[in-house]
């Protein structure tokens, strides 16, 4: 029935010992990769890409040549696979080029506009946030300038509230506080510490701000510029813990 020789080349497959050697080589390469990134990661200086890519390519090649027997099998199988691989590389490269990934522009934009992250799990919102990072401030001519925040000694909660306001809370996206944030969608909060006392009848400034954060829909003050009901909802603030809200309220009350 068969006009071709059998396809199995058991005799040419690697032996147990050779397979074990290959496995050890693969382990060693992975270990080397790990050791390469450890010091870089600790420094936080980014990692050297070239050797990592090269080592991975070696691992990739070893697996397809020996474990997948391409070295011993019919060359057509290898050609079929390499065709897909090369096409994948070309398509991927084209996509990267198309979206300008080889130029720094999009990442510069993100670096200049992104909001820093504070961990949700550890610290549970009670950790002391140090404002040691430079803060960008919008200047009168529309540009930004660096302002180094002085640590506020006695007012830990206020500082923590500010960190949430400008960081994980994301409040600054819509709200302005002179010198700190310049959001233009919601009410200006520069003097909220004074204004809050008279916003809602029979409600203290503290309670009014707390309610406005936790349940923005409950009461919308009248005669306030850019009080746009429906943009800020309790869904937006649901990720804030009670401690976060408390810190935010303290920070806002300090904005006289």
């Amino acid at each position: 029935m068969s006009t071709h020789p059998p396809e199995h080349h058991e005799s040419r497959h690697p032996t147990f010992k050779q397979y074990a050697t290959i496995a050890i080589i693969l382990f060693a390469i992975t270990a080397v990769e790990f050791l390469i990134i450890v010091p870089e990661g600790l420094k936080g200086s980014g990692v050297v890409i070239a050797p990592l890519v090269a080592l991975s390519a070696v691992k990739f090649a070893i697996v397809i040549m020996f474990y997948m027997h391409l070295k011993f099998d019919n060359r057509l199988l290898g050609s079929v696979f390499l065709t897909g691989l090369v096409l994948a590389f070309m398509a991927g490269g084209a996509v990267l080029a198309l979206f300008g990934s080889f130029q720094p522009t999009p990442r510069e934009f993100a670096a200049a506009n992104a909001v820093a992250y504070t961990h949700l799990v550890e610290g549970d919102g009670h950790e002391e946030v140090e404002l040691e990072h430079p803060v960008h401030e919008i200047t009168s001519d529309g540009g930004t300038e660096m302002v180094v925040e002085e640590p506020t000694g006695g007012a830990d909660l206020v500082a923590q509230g500010q960190a949430i306001f400008t960081g994980s809370g994301g409040c600054l996206a819509c709200h302005a506080v002179e010198g700190i944030a310049s959001g233009m969608l919601g009410p200006d909060l520069t003097h909220i510490g004074t204004d809050a006392a008279t916003r809602k009848p029979e409600t203290s400034a503290h309670d009014y701000i707390t309610e406005s954060i936790k349940e923005p829909e409950a009461f919308v003050a009248t005669d306030v510029e850019r009080a746009n009901p429906g943009i800020m909802t309790s869904a937006l603030t649901s990720s804030l813990s009670d401690a976060d809200v408390e810190a935010l309220v303290d920070f806002l009350l300090a904005q006289k």
């Binding site: 080592l55 696979f81 994948a88 820093a116 990072h133």
Partner: protein
Amino acid sequence: MAYASGQLPTSDVDHTYTSTGLNHRKLLMWVFLSSDCMFFGALIATYMVYRGQSLIGPYPIDIIDVPITTISTFVLLCSSFAMVQALAATNRNDQKGIQIWLLATAFMGLIFIGFQAYEFNLFLGEGLRIDTNLFGTTFFTLTGFHGAHVTLGIVWLLILFVMGRKGRLGPASALDVELAGLYWHFVDIVWIVIFTLLYLIGGFDAGPTAGLLIEPSLLAFPT
């Protein structure tokens, strides 16, 4: 066409004439793997395009744990070694070896998936969901599809293991094991690429420092 009892049609197919001289199933498997290269290539390229462009956290450096993932990478490499042993056992008709090595491969795959489940869970706890930012979207899509491939591979291996228990695997059906092995090794090499790009290289991508402002025009609402 009749087959001897306990014998799979594979042996017959193996010697069927084909214009390439190659077994169709094996060629088909390589064509599939070739296309899967492009599938993962697209997902990886997407990750690289959006790398470092998230505007809110968590960012990779906040949550990616390289040492933990290095362990699961070792486990997956180990499973590839077990897989080639399963094929070798099949070729020499070592029934006990077939079962042990197939089960070992599937088990290590399960450990890998366990690590991934742990990691996903940890990320969700840290506030990274698939719709949180560009990092979350591209990360979960890529590693999720890889995890799905591994899961499918585990099911495949367990089916082979059951066949092995029934004594239905041997030199005549070596191709059945070999094809599962090709798929399994492919999943392994995809992980080699993902591990390098998303963990070793991309795992230290930091978000911006605290206190930066969002450009207000970014958030312009249509009125």
